[in-house]
Amino acid sequence: MSGHHTLGTATLRERQASAVADTALRGKLARASEIFTTRKAGAFALIDDVDGLRQAARSIRSDINSRLPSVLERFADNVMAAGGNICWAKTGAEANAYIVNVAKRIGAKTAAKGKSMATEEIELNGALEAAGCEVVETDLGEWIIQLDEQTPSHIIAPAIHLDRYDIARIFDERANAGGIEPIPEVMNAFARGRLREKFLAAELGVTGCNLAIAESGSILLVENEGNGRMSSTLPRVHIAVMGMERIVETWAEADLIVNLLARSGTGQHISVYTNIVTGPRRPEDVDGPEEFHVVILDNGRSELLASDLHEMLDCIRCGACLNVCPVYRQTGGHAYGWVYSGPMGAVLTPLLAGHVEGSQELANASTLCGACMDACPVGIPLQDLLLSLRRTKAAKAGAAEKAGWRAWSAAWSHRSIYEASVVAATSPARKLAGSRVATKLVPGAGRWALGRELPTPASSSFRSRWKKGDL
């Protein structure tokens, strides 16, 4: 059983406020994201033309998405030619129903899962468990948070918000580790032992898919622990779940994207494991599943593809934008309230979880500082997309908010009214601005004063000095 998302149960401000109140969390996030960004710089230092590479990646991604249906068809044909099965899932519910059906047909009691954000998005674990199939997350970070009934707080490092002491406590409390020492090697060995039993027992392996390659009908999985390889080879049946945009046409394109993926995300030149799966086990193979399925998940992506915000589908889920985001570094991923976090989550959540109350608010979870756009290996203009989402939200705003902006623009589009407001602000009454009274009178002042001293306007404005000829 995994944890629950808070979107719709608390406001963005409430979620963020409780996250930043946890100073220990902020320290852990700062350390972890610093490690990622420093490593990233190192991994890119060896590449001569980083901008050229990013440009190339960007044009590959947008080219593929511009003809996505035909690329997907080619992929599906080749998966089937290699002996695999395809499920076109319009919704998360359709995807889950397909997977649950397979689990039931083969009588699966245990499913071993590799890391996959798409299955988080569709809440597959709950669906399988409701059907009597135990789900074991086999990525170490995912397993830790599964034990503690939490959700991932980062798209590539799901337990980034936990340190080794937290993890030792979770192992003790949730996995009877018997007073395990908070030493990474010791805890790794413990997890390996427990997970190995599950791999051997699992009849069903479920993984995500970092990239599908249409020309050969293959899927590519990058990971660092070997659990993705085991989930896709040991169980009798392997199902890979892919968001429908997670695809390229050729191996040359895949090469370029994979080159950027690990460097941008974890700062590795290449992940420890890069698994390529093409169809089920062939007679001459020594291992591999008897059945191989790919679930191609739409779940709102077609609509996104047809919208002005389609560039978001260029995302390769590297996590770089989370690591550099100054908001994410303070709040962590859970405050975003849903599956995806950081700048990419702030854009994706309103688009993919638009039906959940409060999802539109995510567009505000950014100062528009642009660090994400700079970090993104495929050059997604995240800041522009957030602004566009804010316009959509503003169009649906309540009458009072609209009237407020209307009044402001009516006033400040006239020199005389603007000047009157400047005169008022710089009048002797301005002294009140720094006082507690202002927190009652001036909109926003009360919120400003939470942790900041209020500024006092000057005693004479610039324009009054200019008019007087003082300068």
Partner: protein, 276 residues
Amino acid sequence: MWQPEGMNAIKPVDAASASRVSFFITCMVDVFAPDVGEAAVRMLRESGCEVSCPLGQTCCGQPAWNSGFAADAARVARTSLDALEADDADAVVVPAGSCATMIKVFWPELFELVGDHDAAARAQRLGAKTFELTSFLDARPSPNRVDQSAPAHRGPTIAYHHSCHMLRELRIHDAPLALLERAGCTIADWPDGDRCCGFGGLFSVKLPETSVAMAEAKLASLPAEVEMVVGSDSSCLMHLAGRAKAEGRTIAFRHTAEVIAAAAIAGAAIPRKGQA
């Protein structure tokens, strides 16, 4: 950056050759930091410019634009566009990176979005001659009027706050540092110098807890020897200073214009570009 069709042909104006400039005050400087405006005007004159300040201008419209209210932003922006355009100077100079970005980068997009193609084209032309203050000053070739024989002024040890739009939209990084160095400042290495301070316009009051936490984190990485935090956006400085005061810090927060103007008054030799 968004570009309307056929607009790529507009040639950016050369800051070095401008002789008359329109000063865009910005509403923040007008009310909260008029001293910054004064210092900016002084330094513009120092660099050999005649400065005008068309008072029909109001605000750049950024608060509404960033909140998604494009039509309201356009209404206010049009007022300022009209005033600046009518002033017909060689260049427009703005003492705030974010407002300069609003004019140069977002005005054309904004007007286009609300269907005002004429204003979009005018904004594109105005944008080509609009400069953020420090990038403008740094590019000026004119000999400064400061007494070159005066003993070099030793300025404070400062940490520089790179504000986001100035750094990542306008790509201005070195210009303010060069000016500050020439004004005798020692610039400390601030690891978080280019990280967002958490102001973010209305973000600062919409999500105040996070906004404050960001300021706190940024200030926490200030090197001990720093006497003053300097930046080129008064709004960020106001937010950082507000947080610093609440933390009981005594450090000063100043706009680049104020620091270099103070140095000029103190008689610092501020060599022209390429001479430092």
